[in-house]
């Protein structure tokens, strides 16, 4: 096996191959739970946890699984981990669990997870798979949180509402309110707001990419190097 560029794995996961913004995977939870920052963050972290565990196990067993049962085995592993995570959340983050509801079991069907298992973990060593899982997961979480934050902000003029669900009672005070008279553009919180928000985020990412592409083209016409901003 040749060398693995960890930096590349990390930048891919967080940015270049961001599962939500580039691959457009896992959109169902992405749309459904991001009506507040805390919800987004919660589901993002749960997804990351599952992703990490599944990537690690798939990578560990990658040499022993026959081709014809590869997918069923992956699905089995992922489903087990999701169930475990669901039970844990039910036990320790009860209210958040109630809010995220069906979307926790639905992590099973998040294409990101089976996608990474199939495309990365089943072909790469354990360490690299772990790094990949964390960066992909954090990239996904970042988009969920960002989308949640902007929708919460526009929709009801607050940030970190319900933080105690995730961080315990001390976090109750974290909630920020913009302006008591803010009328709240409800649309942002309702489902259409999710589509518009995601669209805007994707556009923003493309804009940034293009800006840097242009900058790089202007600066260095010589060798095509790797993108440098992480």
């Amino acid at each position: 096996m040749s060398e693995i560029s960890y930096r590349r794995i990390v930048t891919d996961g967080l940015w270049h191959n961001n599962q939500a913004l580039v691959a457009l995977l896992g959109l169902c939870p992405l749309m459904a739970v991001t009506n507040s920052l805390v919800n987004g963050l919660g589901l993002g972290l749960a997804t990351t946890a599952v992703l990490l565990m599944s990537n690690l196990s798939v990578s560990t067993i990658r040499h022993w699984v026959r081709a014809e049962v590869r997918l069923p085995v992956f699905v089995l592993i992922i489903a087990s981990f999701v169930t475990a995570v669901e039970l844990v959340m039910h036990a320790w983050f009860h209210e958040l669990y109630k809010i995220l509801g069906i979307f926790i079991p639905l992590i099973v069907t998040n294409c990101t997870i089976i996608g990474r298992a199939e495309a990365f973990a089943s072909r790469n060593p354990v360490a690299a798979s772990g790094v990949d899982a964390v960066s992909i997961g954090l990239g996904f979480t970042a988009v969920l949180s960002l989308l949640g934050a902007s929708r919460e902000l526009i929709g009801q003029g607050t940030l970190f509402s319900g933080a105690h669900l995730l961080f315990g009672e001390v976090a109750r005070a974290w909630e920020l309110t913009l302006n008591a008279d803010y009328p709240g553009v409800l649309l942002a919180i309702l489902p259409p707001g999710a589509f518009m928000g995601l669209g805007t985020l994707i556009a923003l990412k493309n804009l940034i990419d293009r800006y840097f592409d242009r900058r790089r083209a202007e600066l260095a016409p010589a060798p095509a190097t790797e993108p440098e901003q992480a």
Binding site: P183, V185, L186, L190, P192
Partner: protein
Amino acid sequence: MEFPVASSPHLQGDNDIQRVMGQVLLALLPGVAALWWYFGWGVIINLGLAIFTAVFWEWVVMRLRGRDPRPVIADLSGILTACLLAIALPPTLPWWQTMMGTAFAIVVAKQLFGGLGYNPFNPAMAGYALLLVSFPADMTRWLEPSVVSGHSLGLSEAWNAIFSGVAPAAGGWDALTGATPLDHMRTELSREHLIGEIRQSAVWGDFGGRGWEWVANWFLVGGLFLVWRKVISWRIPASMLVALALIAGIFWVIDPDIHPSPAFHLFSGAAIFGAFFIATDPVTASTTPRGQLIYGALIGVLVFVIRTWGGYPDAVAFSVLLMNMAAPTIDYYTQPRVFGDQEKQDE
């Protein structure tokens, strides 16, 4: 001798987009006049605000896209969108909501998709839906028609109401505003009152609410003008209204105590206005002849369904937006039989 060349035909009819849009604007006049008569100057201020916002944003977006804004503004489509939206808004809506809705209609619903001709959704209704969903309280607070409240909102009163939220002097908001006839009907029905009792109230006219039904009539005049001028096809308005009347009629026959008459459905809310001016927006509607019939009829049915069982009192905006999504599919499956196509010749 050399000549410039171009593809045939070398003749061009005298129709153009500006003319189409201009005729629709013209056809709006009677309805707008009626609105002004019953609801006062707020209607006019809204129109002004919306047109101003629409032109401003078209200009900005076209500049951002690096194109000449003038022909785009001159084709009147943006102004028409603004007018259609403004007509649908309550006449005392805070100014910033009107501007926000118009900006959304122009920037997001129209220009982000590529401008006129490319928008999958009716921009005016997209703007309306944004406002209704985001500010349902303001969006459902309509003035009582002047024939009911006995008070017509003057220019300065309307101005103050819109720009500083000051209630008109005569009795404040509660005295002047009320539920629209549709809302009223829905509310009373939910209290298990019967239609007969409900219709005792002074707000009711012959078909729908007093005043309201006349607004609808004047829009009908404008709409018929458009059909006569062949600016719009008769198919969509006719099928929509017939479908609405039919389904309302069926329920009404089953139990006239809890289902209002078809006439009530036709002459209340935005049914007439929507049938002639909203559903017929060519860009977002179905274009095949059979498709138009289906498209219109489904809007009519949806209007009834949403009015009767939905979460908001009126339904034209949502029905149209929903059917906008279905229009391409409808078109695909209702392609007319091509001349000489033998497989379909039996039809």
